[in-house]
Each structure stands twice: as structure tokens, then as C-alpha cells.
């Protein structure tokens, strides 16, 4: 049966310590608990950065399996392509609120040298291709996280319950993002929850992309397979394409996805006008239309972005080196009762927090 596209009505929250201080996982869970009503319990998830310091230079591959056969097949593929330094079940606490969990494993690995030279690929490209291959060809196996020193944890359930299930209070990271979902049909599939991940990008998203068909066809031209039928997948691939492949600066990629109106472009000075016009001409199919608020984590930072006419809520706050972004102010105030400043980001303009040093 054809899986129908599931729109993303939801609640988001994110926090980053720009000094690189580690924050415990229960902080993001508490934040999500306050905006419980934005979800309907059919999906919740988190992404943490800096959570695997022991394996910081290895790809942390999180996989869910429907059955042991799927796991065996998948591990064969992994062994062939990667040098796996460690492999273990992802620790969880069984909960009656999280029903029928799949088999959850994680592998800390790096691509085999000979494979990389044989294919003439860079490690990142190699991983992207490998993940797509597993997701499309190994029955019942789904890689839901594959970045370095970061991990996605998601399931069908309310966000706070998902966080407890994955024992997130036992982790500490410098960036956390969280998501509670309100899908309008019942996929019951863990892979469909947010965050969506590609390499070190983790994207949580609130809204529905009206331009999905256009964006998807554009991405397919560059080899991305939009198999999940979710809008979030398209947003994550767009970030990957524009920033990693086309090397556009982050702010410029946001200008592409939430493009300013012609009225405003026309009134700018020549240089900026020429640039914005060239961006809209070249990347018209990457314009994301429809309401959206996204929070995206990446290895060196976190960003929040709204659509061009702010049809979804998004609010930001800061205190010392901490930057917060969320769907509702109460989600921030729960974990930061007295921020230095609270403000509403403008439509189409990103809020960005970046690590100042190394971690």
C-alpha cells in the first residue's frame, strides 16, 4: 500500500551551549513536556550532539530492525563497507507508553579505506550512499542516525516518553533538539518520527511543505531518494545539498529556502539585488513554500528558521552562551526561567548558534 505523505504538525524545542558545555538530556525532555499538546503521541524524538566523546571521530550509526534477520543482513553490509569499532544495543527502559519497539542497535565505525579508494568517494558521500542503500534494499532495517559524535533517538509516542525510553537523562551534549509530532494518519512507523537525519544534520520540523512535489523532483535530480514521504526529509536533503554539496554559506542557504519577496529584492542596492535575483532564478525549485518552522542541529551549531510569511510560531532566547529556540516561549522558560533576552525571529531569517571553540 502506498504510504501517504504525512504532514508535520508539531512542537519543537532546541538548545545549544555555544561554549561547548555539556547539557544533560533531561533538560530537553522537560522542555518538550511543556508543549505536550502540540503533539498527539504518534511520534517524538530528539537529537543530541557531543554525546559520544569516546568515539568522537567515528560515525555513530543508529539502526532499527524489524527482526533479527534484518539485523544479520544489515550487519553483513556494514562489515563489508565499514570498520566497526564497537557495536551494541541502544540502551532503553521498557515503558508501557512506548509500544512494540523494534530492535535498536548502534555501531561506531568508519568507512574501509580500500572501499573509499575503490569508489573514489569522500567518506561523507560514502556514508550517505551506504545509508540510502541499507534503507532501500535491506528489508526491515532502517538507519535513523549516522553522524559523528551525535545521535538521533526517536519513536512512536509522546516526546517526553520517548526521551525517558531512550534514557536521555544519562547522556550529555552541547546541543539538543526535540520534537513532538501530530500526524494526521497513523503510520505507526518509528522511522517516520522526527528528527530526520543525514550525516550530522538533524532536522525537526513543524508545518507542511506545499512545494513538496517540486522540491522532491529537484532533489531527485541530484540523487537524493525521498523515500520517507515526509516533508522533513526534503528539508534535510535541501540543507545537505545547498550547504555540503553546493557549499553555500548557511545564511545564503536559508535565503534560498525562505526567499525574500521580489518586492523587497527589487528595492535593494545593485549587488545584493543581483545576488538575491540569481538565487531565486537558480534555486527556485528549492524554495520551500507553505508554513514551516524548523530547528536543525549540525556538528558546529544549531539553527532555527521560519517560512517567508511566518505561518508557524518560533521564538528564541539567550542566556550567557546558551541559545534556545522553540515553538512556544513556555518551552524555553521551563528550562530557562530568566533569560537575558527573548525575541521572535523574523520570517525567513535564521537564528544561528555556533560553537565558539572545539569540543
Amino acid at each position: 500500500m502506498d504510504r501517504h505523505r504525512v504532514p508535520a504538525a508539531c512542537g519543537l524545542s532546541g538548545v545549544i551551549s555555544q561554549d561547548g558545555n555539556l547539557i544533560e538530556g533531561d533538560v530537553i525532555i522537560e522542555s518538550m513536556r511543556v508543549i505536550h499538546d502540540r503533539g498527539n503521541g504518534l511520534g517524538g524524538g530528539f537529537a543530541g550532539y557531543g554525546i559520544y566523546p569516546k568515539y568522537r571521530d567515528l560515525y555513530a550509526v543508529h539502526v532499527m530492525f524489524e527482526d533479527p534477520e534484518g539485523r544479520a543482513l544489515c550487519e553483513e553490509l556494514l562489515e563489508r563497507n565499514l570498520e566497526v569499532e564497537a557495536a551494541e544495543e541502544i540502551p532503553t527502559t521498557p515503558s508501557e507508553k512506548i509500544a512494540d519497539p523494534p530492535i535498536l542497535w548502534r555501531y561506531f565505525a568508519t568507512p574501509r579505506g580500500e572501499k573509499l579508494s575503490a569508489e573514489g568517494r569522500e567518506a561523507d558521500d560514502f556514508m550517505v550512499k551506504l545509508v540510502m542503500e541499507i534503507n532501500m534494499t535491506v528489508p526491515g532495517a532502517f538507519v535513523f542516525s549516522s553522524g559523528k559524535n551525535m545521535g538521533v533517538f526517536k519513536a512512536v509516542g509522546f516526546a517526553e516518553d520517548v526521551g525517558e525510553f531512550y534514557r536521555l537523562p544519562e547522556y550529555a551534549g552541547y546541543t539538543w533538539i526535540g520534537h513532538g509530532r501530530f500526524p494526521t494518519n497513523t503510520p505507526g512507523w518509528w522511522g517516520g518520527a522526527h528528527p530526520f537525519n543525514i550525516l550530522d544534520w538533524a532536522v525537526v520540523h513543524n508545518g507542511e511543505v506545499s512545494s513538496y512535489g517540486t522540491n522532491k523532483r529537484y532533489l531527485e535530480m541530484f540523487g537524493y531518494q525521498c523515500t520517507l514521504l515526509t516533508d522533513t526529509e526534503v528539508m534535510a536533503y535541501l540543507f545537505d545539498l545547498l550547504i555540503r554539496k553546493h557549499k553555500l554559506p548557511l545564511e545564503v542557504a536559508c535565503t534560498v529556502m525562505a526567499a525574500p519577496f521580489w518586492k523587497d529584492i527589487d528595492s535593494q542596492d545593485t549587488d545584493r539585488r543581483h545576488l538575491d535575483e540569481a538565487l531565486r532564478m537558480t534555486y527556485g525549485s528549492a524554495l520551500v513554500n507553505g508554513p514551516f518552522a524548523v530547528i536543525a542541529g549540525f556538528s558546529r551549531g544549531m539553527m532555527g528558521l521560519n517560512d517567508r510569511i511566518k505561518l508557524r510560531p518560533l521564538i528564541a532566547a539567550c542566556k550567557d552562551d546558551l541559545l534556545y529556540v522553540a515553538s512556544e516561549e513556555s518551552a524555553i522558560r521551563q528550562i530557562c526561567p530568566k533569560p537575558d533576552r527573548v525575541w521572535a525571529p523574523k520570517a525567513g531569517r535564521p537564528v544561528v548558534g555556533e560553537l565558539k571553540g572545539d569540543v
Binding site: V34, I35, D37, S267, K310, I315, E328, E329, Q334, A344
Partner: protein
């Protein structure tokens, strides 16, 4: 005048109570508020509020609700009478389709404030978000009012059909309004302090000079606003306000062919 006097009489008998709302789910909290009103309480303070939705939603009573903390969305939705004070910031959809009463926010508020508002007043001390006062309407004595002390996002007063919107712009640089001000306006009046560039005004909007009636209205509102929110309006000069009204009550009359 007579109305105010009558209200004064009723308020002589204040029965106050404080509720600790910390971690209380909105369903329970709002039911508690309704129960307390049933028991005759006229002033209810809620402490430790954070994110609970629908507070004062649908209430019609002559009571006062004081909120310490950040209330969730739809504060005072469909409200018809009460006085709500928030000693912090508020979120989205404050005063949604409100009919009468007053909401005072001593902080900033979010998007879609006063959507479809039909009467009553909303005062926000600091900034407000997008689509504030969208499709406000009025009829005879029912004239809704929103006053914001700071700046506003785009689509301020979108499709307004009646009522009064005031943007004071304290603490803002340049114009306090965003883009597409009053787009679709076909009734009501918008006052904005400072010059809004013409390119930012909706097509249906025209700038008119202030008349004496406007001046007294603005003076009265700003005084009330200052008393209620504690904003510093000492440097506000009435003459700095732009008055915006629609050029037609039927801006889309030419849009269709039969």
C-alpha cells in the same frame, strides 16, 4: 460612564484567592478557575503558570484573573467580560475572537493577537508578532481596541473591518510596523507612531490627518495603557501618530466578472 459606575459598585465586594498553577495541566487549571468563580471569587491569581492554554477562555463573568508566568496559547479566547493581567510575556492567539473585557500583558505577545476580536481591549506593553488584529470587527458600540507599546511584525491589521489598533513603537528604531500594514483593510482605524513608508502599506490603506476626535481617543487610550502596563510613555507625542483608514468599504468590488 454609567457602565463604569455600575462596575465600580459590583467590584466593592472583592473575594480574592491565589492558586499554585505550577505543573498543573490546563484542563484541570481552567476547571479550577471556573469552580472558583462559581464559588464567588472575583479575583483569582495564578502563580507558576508556564504554557497552560486557554486560560480565561470563554469566561463571561465580571472577574479579574492575574497570571504570574507565561500563559500558553489562546489566552482569553472568546472571552466576554473579565479582566486578565499577565505579569510576564504571553504567547500566540491572545484574545482570539474576544467579545469584551480587557487583557493586559506586561511583556511581549506573540502572533495572531485579537484575531476576529469584536470588543474589549488588549494592551501589550512591549512588542507583538505577526498578523495582530487580523480581521477585527466592530458594530455600533462594540469597538475592540489593541494597543501595543513596542513594534509589530508583518500584516498588522490585516483585513481589519472595524475597531482601533495603536502601535506606539517604544524602543524601536525606524518604523515600528512591519510590512503589509493594513492589507485588505475595509473598516476600522490604525494609528502608528512614526512614518510608515508607503511601500509597506496595504493597497487598501490611505493616510489621513489626525482630527481632534482622534487626538482625544489616543490621549485617553495611551493614558489608560500607561497606567495598566507601566510603560514609559513620557516622550510620546500624539502628533507623531499616522492615522490609517481604508479608502473604500468595498475594496474588492471590481474583482469579479459575471
Amino acid at each position: 460612564m454609567a457602565e463604569a459606575a455600575a462596575k465600580q459598585e459590583k467590584k466593592l465586594e472583592t473575594k480574592a484567592i491565589t492558586v499554585d498553577a505550577t505543573g498543573v495541566y490546563y484542563r484541570e487549571l481552567n476547571q479550577r478557575v471556573r469552580d472558583l468563580i462559581g464559588q464567588g471569587y472575583t479575583e483569582i491569581t495564578l502563580d507558576g503558570v508556564n504554557g497552560q492554554r486557554y486560560i480565561a477562555d470563554g469566561l463571561e463573568d465580571d472577574i479579574s484573573v492575574i497570571i504570574n508566568g507565561v500563559p500558553g496559547n489562546d489566552l482569553g479566547a472568546f472571552m466576554d467580560g473579565p479582566m486578565v493581567t499577565v505579569n510576564d510575556n504571553a504567547q500566540d492567539a491572545v484574545g482570539n475572537t474576544m467579545n469584551s473585557g480587557k487583557i493586559v500583558i506586561k511583556g511581549h505577545a506573540g502572533d495572531v493577537i485579537g484575531y476576529g476580536m469584536r470588543g474589549g481591549k488588549i494592551f501589550v506593553r512591549d512588542d507583538v508578532g505577526y498578523r495582530v488584529g487580523i480581521h477585527m470587527k466592530s458594530y455600533k458600540g462594540q469597538v475592540p481596541v489593541i494597543v501595543a507599546g513596542g513594534g509589530a511584525g508583518d500584516f498588522f491589521g490585516e483585513y481589519i473591518a472595524g475597531g482601533v489598533l495603536v502601535l506606539i513603537g517604544l524602543g524601536t528604531e525606524g518604523t515600528p510596523a512591519g510590512d503589509y500594514v493594513g492589507t485588505g483593510m475595509h473598516g476600522g482605524t490604525i494609528f502608528i507612531r512614526g512614518r510608515v513608508p508607503e511601500g509597506r502599506l496595504g493597497r487598501e490603506v490611505r493616510v489621513f490627518p489626525l482630527e481632534n476626535d482622534d487626538r482625544s481617543l489616543l490621549e485617553g487610550l495611551i493614558e489608560e495603557f500607561t497606567n495598566d502596563t507601566g510603560a514609559d510613555t513620557t516622550n510620546v507625542d500624539i502628533e507623531e501618530f499616522m492615522k490609517l483608514r481604508p479608502f473604500s468599504h468595498r475594496p474588492y468590488g471590481n474583482m469579479y466578472v459575471y
